[in-house]
Assembly symmetry: C2
Homo-oligomer: 236 residues x 2
DNA sequence: AGTGGCCAAGTGGCTGAGCCACTTTGCTGC
DNA sequence: GCAGCAAAGTGGCTCAGCCACTTGGCCACT
């Protein structure tokens, strides 16, 4: 009900112009390499100033959708002016956990496998440290959230794969939420700690298959715990 | 040597302004919530017109680094004006194949598993169609590139995981290159086709473990073929 | 036929002045 | 105190204009 009182949308003119340009490119079937109408003409036909048209074009330029040649016109780079939706936004919209947990399992089992293959002594030291941190917290009756986070981050680092690390980073926030809930379940911190130990030992031993298997088992129990309290409508 | 004849860099004014603003925010220790100087003042101190300052601010606004309040000033959203590096750019810089192939294996085995669990009849029809397309091309002595692409896209679609699909999309270009090279190896198209068949049958049978295993086997042979001709220095 | 100089038209780059809309601030009068 | 209001400050947008660059056509020269 307070829905009606949310801040009014106050669209900037240049945003509307960007929208119109996307529309124009789509409807007129413009493709890569085609030239947009001149700024002066666009301004006149849209009924706005040239400055606003220019701001809109700057937006498209920054997004890499358009190439502006001084004195030569403005050209489409791709077949469309639709911006590729940033991963972060998609994650936001798709807050639904299952997707995230699936992606996490896919990537992190691979990360464990790679970590077993590539970990350096320094990587192992960080892993040991993270595990010790979590162990101490759990002994003191804490949930071990920070230690858990550090352990998984250390595994990611030890895998030495910039691309997978980047993907993990983009769902880190969602994983953090699930971690909080999971570790608040009674008995969970101790079991989680034990599972971490098995992962670490496999990584230390340089056994990729064992590491992947241990990580998979760990993540599946986490996912189970988390999904027990989850319902599709509960988008929190 | 032809390095000297590459296109001249002709930086836009607004880009320089953006750079100056980032610098200013960093050097003056501006943090989230702090207000930028007024547009008129910035224009005067930078010695540029207000329009150029505004274009720069539009850039920062589009990148979500700054919030502009009509009549109230322009405020930093985060503690820095440095743009988070988009995944696409990272992929570009990290053109090195191993990373990409690792990520691909991690995600696509999971996709195969999910596809076996969730595929609808319509999904199966698309998979059948893609496989038939590839089979026909291979029979005619072609490489079957397009059919291969469609098959893997169909598996991704059948998994019904928007997040993994998005991740796949962001490395699609690199995968495409590797696909071209792989399928150009003599004998590869036929073997690849057979492997696709096994994947499809596991998905049709609704056997997640078999589907994941078949996909993993397929991707590992592809990676092997590709990596034989790859060397770290060859960044092409 | 090819080359380079030249010019005019078209287009983007950028400016300055100006007005409007909105927010913030602080004074005024109760 | 405090509500109301006016002024100052700030961003939104426009207009008119000049400059810089690209393109294409024409021409003189080789």
């Amino acid at each position: 009900m307070s829905e009606a009182l949310r801040p009014m949308a106050r669209p900037r003119l240049y945003e509307q112009v960007v929208e119109r340009l996307r529309q124009y490119a789509a409807e007129d079937g413009l493709g890569a390499g085609d030239r947009l109408p001149a700024e002066r003409e666009l301004a006149q036909r849209l009924g706005v100033s040239r400055a606003s048209v220019k701001q809109a074009i700057v937006v498209l330029e920054v997004q890499g959708l358009v190439e502006v040649r001084h004195g030569g016109g403005t050209y489409l780079v791709r077949d469309t002016l639709d911006a590729a939706e940033p991963v972060e936004r998609l994650v936001e919209r798709r807050r639904r956990l299952p997707d995230v947990l699936e992606a996490r399992e896919a990537m992190e089992t691979k990360l464990a496998e790679l970590a077993a293959r590539r970990r350096t002594d320094a990587d192992l030291a960080v892993l040991d440290d993270a595990l010790a941190h979590m162990a101490k917290d759990v002994e003191d009756g804490g949930p071990g959230v920070e230690g858990d986070r550090r352990f998984h981050a250390a595994v990611t680092a030890a895998a030495h794969s910039a691309l997978l690390a980047e993907f993990m980073r983009s769902i880190a926030e969602q994983i953090g939420e699930s971690r909080n809930e999971s570790l608040r379940q009674p008995g969970r911190p101790k079991r989680s700690l034990a599972q971490h130990r098995r992962i670490l030992e496999a990584v230390r031993a340089g056994d990729p298959k064992a590491a992947a298997a241990a990580m998979r088992r760990h993540l599946r129990t986490v996912a189970e715990v988390r999904l027990l309290t989850w319902t599709p409508e509960d988008d929190s």
